[in-house]
C-alpha cells in the first residue's frame, strides 16, 4: 500500500518536474511547481516530518509560487526557446549531463546503501517540540544566521526596488 502510494506520488513528482523545466509558458511552469511542491509535502509527511510538510506547503506552495507568479505577471510569461545555432547543442549537452548525473548517483547509491535498510526502531522525533528544542539550543547560532540572511534578502529586495524607482 505504502509502496504503491510512493510510486504514484513519485510519478506525479517526476512528471510535474519535467513539466516545470520544459513548458514554454512561465505560468505553466509555476503551476507545475505548485504540484511538485505539494507532492514533496506528502513525502515529508510520509517520512514522519509533519512540521516540515506543513512548512513546505506554507513557504513553497504558498509564498514562493505566488512570488514567482507575481514576477511572471510583471514581466510577461513567454519564456520560449531562443533561435540560435548554439541552442540545440545546449539542450543536448544538458540532457546528457543530467542523464549521466542520475546514472552516477544511482550507481553510488546501489553500491553503498544496502537495499534492506528500513526505518530504525526508535520512534521518530518528528514533532514541533523536538525541532524547536534543537533549533533554540544546539542550533541557535545557525538559526540567528538564517534570520540575518532573511533580513539581508528583504533589505536587498527593497533596495533594488527603490533604485529602480529612482531611475524612472
Amino acid at each position: 500500500m505504502a509502496l504503491l502510494l510512493f510510486l504514484a506520488l513519485a510519478l506525479v513528482a517526476l512528471l510535474a518536474a519535467v513539466g516545470m523545466v520544459t513548458s514554454r509558458n512561465a505560468v505553466h511552469s509555476a503551476l507545475f511547481m505548485l504540484v511538485n511542491f505539494a507532492v514533496y509535502a506528502i513525502f515529508y509527511i510520509m517520512l514522519n516530518a509533519q512540521f516540515l510538510g506543513v512548512v513546505q506547503v506554507i513557504v513553497y506552495a504558498g509564498a514562493i509560487v505566488v512570488l514567482f507568479l507575481f514576477v511572471v505577471m510583471l514581466i510577461g510569461g513567454e519564456i520560449g526557446a531562443v533561435r540560435s545555432s548554439l541552442r540545440r547543442y545546449t539542450y543536448a549537452a544538458a540532457l546528457i549531463l543530467g542523464a549521466l548525473f542520475v546514472a552516477m548517483i544511482g550507481l553510488g547509491i546501489a553500491q553503498t546503501i544496502s537495499t534492506d535498510q528500513t526505518v530504525a526502531g526508535a520512534p521518530a522525533a518528528g514533532g514541533v517540540e523536538a525541532i524547536g528544542m534543537a533549533l533554540f539550543t544546539t542550533y541557535l547560532l545557525p538559526f540567528e544566521l538564517a534570520s540575518l540572511l532573511l533580513l539581508a534578502g528583504m533589505v536587498g529586495g527593497v533596495a533594488r526596488r527603490y533604485k529602480a524607482l529612482d531611475e524612472d
Binding site: L3, Q117, A134, P142
Partner: protein
Amino acid sequence: MTIPLTWYLILSAALFAIGLFGVLARRNAIAILIGVELMLNAVNVNILAFWRYIRPDDPSGQVFAIIVLTVAAAEAAVGLALFISIYRTRRSINVDHLDALKG
C-alpha cells in the same frame, strides 16, 4: 511494508537532475531560478529520508532541512527582485543577452 531508503534517494537524484537540466538548458532567468528551486527541494527530500532512516531520534536532520528552506526562500526573493530590476533596464531577462561583463 516500508519503502526502502534507496527509492527516496533515487527519486531525489532524478528530480535533482531534472532541475540541473532546467538550469543548463533554459535561457530565461525565471526558468533557471525554477530549476534551482527544484534542485534545492530534491536535496531536502534526501536530507529528510536520511534523517528518518538513519537517525530518527535526533532532530538535526529536520533543522538542516529548515535552514535549506530558509536559504531557498531568501534566494528566490532576491533573485526575483534582481530579475525585475534587470528587466526594467534591459527589457529582457534572457541570460544570453546579459553579457555586460563579457570581456
